[in-house]
């Protein structure tokens, strides 16, 4: 198919450059309802995306127009040529400042990730069994969705880029539930939490441990009481919320963010005016060993975006890097955050709230807001720890960052490596 697309691109006059991206997805999925298998699925989808580039000069300015079209199924030569002509027409109205597309050596480079299983259906079953083997009559998974996803991406362009990478991942959406039905008390008899696990290898012992822990947490939600009082609390966030916070802090620091004025922060600007806390160092990295190039065919270069609370570098794609006159890092999907100095004992010393589950952390970088509705937390009053729920917390984000504590303890996912906990002081709790 790639050869057919290239032949068609070469037969239509006016195409100065092109990029073809082939994505192959092979997914096996198993769905459980109340511990019983409900649905088994297999999907196999291959898609072709073609971007054509057209050089133009208008009012003495060098421009590059581009347009992308998708070839989702086998089409005739004539239909393909029509698609290319339509894309050329569209590109003629795209008056972007000129840039060049990435160059390669013309050789096909394959970056390989080993498959995580040779027998997907058997593996799905084993993973399902690992979750179901730990349930008890009152503590179980009311819903379980297990996905084995294998993806292959092949990028070819007219400047010699020819790269292939593949990836495999196991993902599990689990709903741990606790049924404490008591006819005498019609409220709050059944509770649940939402969990999403991602694994790069099949480690049934780890999966088993995650399942056990999820059930322990939902039992805690059942036992949760109202927070003794509203007021000002130190709040410890963990795992996914730490990831969201760090991601949001660097989101606008991309080349595109800088070029499009989405941020006014420059390299060297202090983002975190630390008074009595620890400084954040946040970088971007490859997500996995074979993750060597991005969607434009740029070979990825890991980058530290914030170093010790100061903007250290920008990052991003080929086009906006050229506009800013710098070398592109490529679009990196992995987040790497430096571990902190705070030991676990110190992190959890003194009265605090440890957030276990939120309805979704809310962060607004521009308004300097951080907060969220808490579904489960542990409240430590200095002597004992109790599960609590039914409240929300909020605060001024950048003021809070002046005195955060960052954990020594590490948390990893297929797209993150960094601290497990961050402690935010003096949050408003309502």
């Amino acid at each position: 198919m790639i050869k057919r697309i290239i032949a068609a691109l070469q037969s239509v006059a006016g195409v100065d450059d092109y990029q073809i991206t082939v994505t192959e997805d092979d997914r096996h999925e198993l769905y459980f309802v109340l511990g019983k298998r409900e649905t088994a699925r297999h999907t196999k989808v291959i898609s072709y995306s073609v971007t054509i580039f057209k050089k133009m000069t208008k009012d003495g300015k060098e421009l590059l127009g581009s347009s992308t079209f998708i070839v989702p199924y086998v089409v005739s030569k004539k239909a393909l040529e029509k698609k290319i002509e339509e894309a050329l027409y569209s590109a003629s109205f795209v008056n972007n400042k000129a840039y060049t597309i990435p160059t390669g050596d013309g050789k096909h480079h394959v970056f390989h990730t080993p498959e995580i299983t040779a027998d997907p259906l058997k593996t799905l079953d084993e993973v399902g069994n690992a979750f179901e083997s730990v349930v008890l009559p009152k503590k179980k998974f009311n819903a379980l969705e297990i996905f084995l996803i294998s993806t292959k991406v092949h990028i070819v362009n007219s400047k010699g880029v020819d790269y292939t990478k593949n990836n495999a991942v196991l993902e599990v959406e689990a709903i741990p539930s606790f049924d404490g039905h008591n006819p005498a008390d019609p409220t709050n008899q059944k509770v649940e939490l939402y969990k999403y696990f991602r694994y790069r290898k099949i480690d049934l012992a780890l999966i088993h441990a995650d399942a056990v822990h999820a059930l322990e947490e939902v039992e805690a939600r059942f036992n949760a009481t109202k927070l003794p009082s509203k007021g000002i609390y130190d709040v410890v966030i963990k795992d996914e919320e730490v990831i969201t916070l760090c991601k949001d802090l660097i989101d606008n620091l991309s080349y595109a963010g800088v070029y499009n004025h989405a941020t006014d922060k420059k390299i060297g600007d202090v983002l975190q005016k630390v008074t009595d806390g620890e400084k954040l160092t946040i970088g971007l990295d490859r997500r996995y060993a074979a993750d060597k190039f991005d969607g434009d065919g740029v070979l990825l270069t890991p980058v530290t975006v914030i170093k010790d609370g100061v903007v250290h570098a920008n990052y991003g794609n080929n086009r906006f890097a050229q506009y800013l006159g710098v070398t592109p890092t490529g679009n990196l999907g992995g987040l790497k955050v430096a571990l902190g100095k705070t030991a676990k004992e110190e992190m959890f010393k003194g009265p605090h709230l440890e957030i276990i589950s939120l309805s979704g952390i809310q962060i607004d970088i521009y308004s300097s807001y951080i907060g969220g509705e808490v579904r489960l937390a542990y409240y430590y009053d200095g002597t004992k720890k109790i599960p609590v729920s039914g409240f929300s917390f909020s605060g001024n984000l950048f003021k809070t960052l002046e005195n955060i504590k960052i954990s020594q303890e590490e948390f990893t996912t297929p797209t993150y490596v960094g601290p497990k906990f961050i402690k935010l002081l003096n949050m408003d709790v309502l």
């Binding site: 997805d25 997914r27 769905y31 309802v33 109340l34 019983k36 298998r37 409900e38 649905t39 088994a40 699925r41 297999h42 999907t43 196999k44 989808v45 291959i46 581009s66 992308t68 998708i70 989702p72 199924y73 086998v74 569209s90 590109a91 109205f93 795209v94 972007n96 259906l121 058997k122 079953d125 084993e126 399902g128 179901e132 009311n142 959406e173 539930s177 059944k190 509770v191 649940e192 499009n260 004025h261 989405a262 941020t263 006014d264 506009y323 309805s359 979704g360 809310q362 521009y366 308004s367 807001y369 907060g371 969220g372 509705e373 579904r375 039914g390 929300s392 909020s394 408003d428 309502l430």
Partner: protein, 467 residues
């Protein structure tokens, strides 16, 4: 814009019909859904213009088999006479695998025989790429020179959806389209940066393009106002909602809670409240692809079930939920036409479509006058459901302070509202007579499975926690 049913799906129809017949001979029930979605995205900001295929474009087929109480699906976008054997083998592998553990035992669909084609074409003129790009770039040029503007992004998108459903008893075809436009403005004054956004959506490309200049002007004005906005002081407040926040509340507070695939999984509190009061008697709530003409209005769902209008809450009493086919088979009830897939290769879940509260009789001015202290909350941002425990979180872009029945000119941003669903719904004390439905956003199931939905209604007066 082709403005007609996909010729690709039409060409594949005989092959699909034959394959479904073969599968029906082997399994207890078989069907296929063919999807062909095309569209264009047009966008411009101060440094870029783009024109290209809509990223939501998709084309492919999902074969479903119900056999011995379980559902099996195989999805592919490669179909030809040569691929038929591969498809049959893939389904056979799924069905015959020696699975561990227990399985559900669902019945078989009881389908009413129906052969029908449906069509809803674009209303009004179809603009050329040149015209749309010209309007977008002119708007950016005019807005970017306004005071304090850091950047402005404007976009138009068009989607044409063709779907084909074939089972032993049903042979359905539908074509419909919708267009959307949006604007996002960033402003900066000194070290203060703020943003505002807005969108339009209709079954008319010319209407959403024509509406953009007014939308952009209003969005810029709002962004400038927000430069003075402060963070809210946490507390419980009386609020008046704009229709987009009403939509967010109806969607998050109750819509997700009556998705009956959650009933099957014992993930919802709603079954315990059926035919009981769950909201103020002023509240009546609907959902359905046939309940309004908006972005989630189709003729049949991804299970081949005809669209309908479901009355969920009638004058404060919970009357019904919404449900997809597979979940309906497990509960032994009729599906409601709410089975939707993110794309052909994804599973069907029970999903909302067009969800809204009916309008009331109050005047918005009177509602504002009735507030001693509170906020007018506007511009939906995001929300999260909790169908089992009925907690809610709804985030809005801003709130305007109201004191003694009048706006003070002070604003807060962002506004994160939370609380217990019943407390919020029962606190509704006034409902305006106006009505607006917005379909600019997507809805997820948990944190995945994104589909286009619309929601809205009138303005509400309620009590919520902001913090």
């Amino acid at each position: 814009m082709k403005n007609k049913f996909s010729s690709y799906l039409a060409k594949k129809e005989p092959l699909l019909q034959a394959l479904v017949e073969r599968l029906n001979a082997k399994y207890e029930y078989a069907s296929v859904l063919g999807t062909d979605v095309h569209g264009k995205n047009y966008a411009a900001n101060r440094s870029s213009t783009s024109v290209g295929d809509n990223p939501e474009m998709e084309s492919g087929f999902v074969f479903r088999v119900y056999h011995k109480g379980v559902s099996y699906e195989y999805a592919t976008n490669e179909i030809s006479p040569a691929k038929v054997g591969e498809i049959e083998a893939a389904i056979a592998e799924l069905v015959s695998h020696p699975y561990l553990g227990k399985q559900v035992k669902m019945g078989l669909p009881k389908e009413e025989p129906l052969t029908k084609s449906y069509e809803r074409k674009n209303v009004g003129q179809v603009y050329s790429t040149e015209k749309i790009v010209g309007i977008l770039t002119d708007l950016v040029k005019k807005t970017v020179v306004e005071k304090n503007v850091a950047n402005v992004s404007v976009m138009v998108s068009v989607q044409e959806i063709s779907k084909l459903f074939i089972s032993a008893k049903r042979h359905l075809k539908q074509y419909y389209n919708y267009s959307a436009s949006g604007v996002y403005v960033i402003v900066r004054e000194g070290e203060v940066t703020r943003y505002a956004y807005d969108g339009l959506d209709q079954n008319s490309l010319s209407a959403v393009v024509k509406g953009l200049p007014k939308l952009t002007k209003g969005t810029y004005k709002l962004a400038i106002e927000l430069l003075k906005a402060e963070l809210p002081k946490p507390g419980k407040y009386t609020i008046i909602t704009d229709p987009s926040i009403t939509g967010l509340i109806v969607h998050e507070a109750f819509g997700h809670g009556v998705e009956m695939d959650q009933f099957v999984k014992d993930r919802a509190l709603a079954p315990e409240y059926m035919n009981k009061q769950v909201a103020s008697p002023l509240i009546s709530m609907h959902d359905g692809a046939d309940a309004a003409n908006s972005v989630a209005s189709y003729f049949f769902d991804d299970d081949g079930v005809s669209a309908q209008d479901t009355l969920i809450i009638d004058k404060g009493i919970l009357k019904a939920g919404i449900i997809d086919r597979t979940s309906a088979l497990q509960l032994g009830v009729k599906p409601t036409g709410n089975g939707r897939r993110q794309e052909f290769s994804h599973k069907t879940y029970t999903r909302m479509t067009n969800t809204y509260f009916e309008s009331g009789t109050s005047k918005l001015d009177d509602m504002i006058k009735s507030v001693d202290y509170g906020y007018y909350i506007a511009k939906t941002n995001n929300g999260m459901e909790d169908p089992k425990n009925w907690g809610i979180q709804c985030a809005a872009l801003y709130g305007r302070e109201i004191k003694n029945g009048k706006f003070t000119g002070k604003m807060i941003s962002p506004v994160v509202m939370s609380g217990f669903v019943l407390d919020l719904l029962k606190s509704i004390s006034m409902i305006s007579g106006d009505f607006h439905l917005s379909g600019a956003g997507h809805c997820g199931k948990g944190y995945k499975e994104w589909v286009r939905v619309s929601d809205g209604g009138p303005s509400l007066k309620a009590e919520v926690k902001i913090g």
